[in-house]
Amino acid sequence: MSLEKPYLDVPGTIIFDAEQSRKGYWLNQFCMSLMKAQNRERFKTDERAYLDEWPMTEEQKQAVLARDLNWCMRTGGNIYFLAKIGATDGKSFQQMAGSMTGMTETEYRDMMIQGGRSVEGNRYVGEDGDAQAHRQPQGAAGKKV
């Protein structure tokens, strides 16, 4: 792979480039299918059976079943596609975004009301901001450890 990728040093961030797009092709196309009400119904009735209609990897299917959006993204998912899963579950974008941080819904919502996550320490991998790998998961989930 010889795409230039100047964006690999941003913590907690996967840029959806051609490589990710190729990896996640069928996962994302499956998500697109959930834009039809009847497909949402079929998916909800038997998630596994519906997923098995798509040439996704087993890992992608597991990530969807687990509703683990970070895992979905590592396997090539893009948030705008994955949002169709959240919509099917009746979740908002805020709930979906928050779910990727390990924070509870309330914690994440409160963070946003207080002005959102600070960019300080979160610009480059290796700084000490709250989005850095060594500080995951965040919020109550992190404190429990």
Partner: protein, 292 residues
Amino acid sequence: MAKITASVFTSHVPAIGAAMDLGKTQEDYWKPVFAGYDFSKQWMKDNKPDVIFLVFNDHATAFSLEMIPTFAIGTAAEFQPADEGWGPRPVPKVIGHPDLASHIAQSVIQQDFDLTIVNKMDVDHGLTVPLSLMCGELDPKTDAWPCPVIPFAVNVVQYPVPSGKRCFMLGQAIRKAVDSYDEDLNVHIWGTGGMSHQLQGARAGLINREWDNAWLDQMIADPVGCANTPHIDYVREAGSEGIELVMWLIARGAMSDIVDGKVQGPAPTVKHRFYHVPASNTAVGHLILENN
């Protein structure tokens, strides 16, 4: 002759649409967001355009991974609000302007922009939320948007997305195209998306108030410099989805002070400026500029 008289810039957060559709606009959380658009709704009535050229991005709605156009212009007679998974928003359908849209497509392609022409496209929150913010709640059946809309979709989902500079140049080409249309039309151009937000990973929820406002200052006063902002700056400073701001540069580039890629005419008047955090995951920015 047709003329671009003003540009409107606004975030297009889906939750704003949901708040309007679910009657939550008077809740404490939402009140300050909508208050920022009170001026704008009146301004829209006082300055009703004949056509809105609305720059937005499709969020994996009309365009799947099968086909990803960098720039797509909607030349159809109408566009339906899309079902993004929650069901279609209860808003009026969008009436296009096929004749002006085709004229712009022809002119802009001949100015070396490699557009994709789209005749079938459902439009998602990227397009309908700005209309709702500027026009208020409308009944999907008995009301209509105030004028025809030409949807112009920019790829900001799969990298590489077009550079800010390319978007800024495109704006100038669009103005040239509008100027050469022989019917008298008052055209507004809207840039939507942004401001700082990130919808993914451990860094979800990033907001950068200082950067957003500095960027706004620069976009108004030094648009050429602003257009040179590299992609990585948006990602690093304004979150992975902050890249949507390149779309604002199309509308900015279409203003009459920009000639041959430089500021050469009288600066536009800032009729309104608004900034608020948060709406859902996002910083809301909003601006109205009028040509002088």
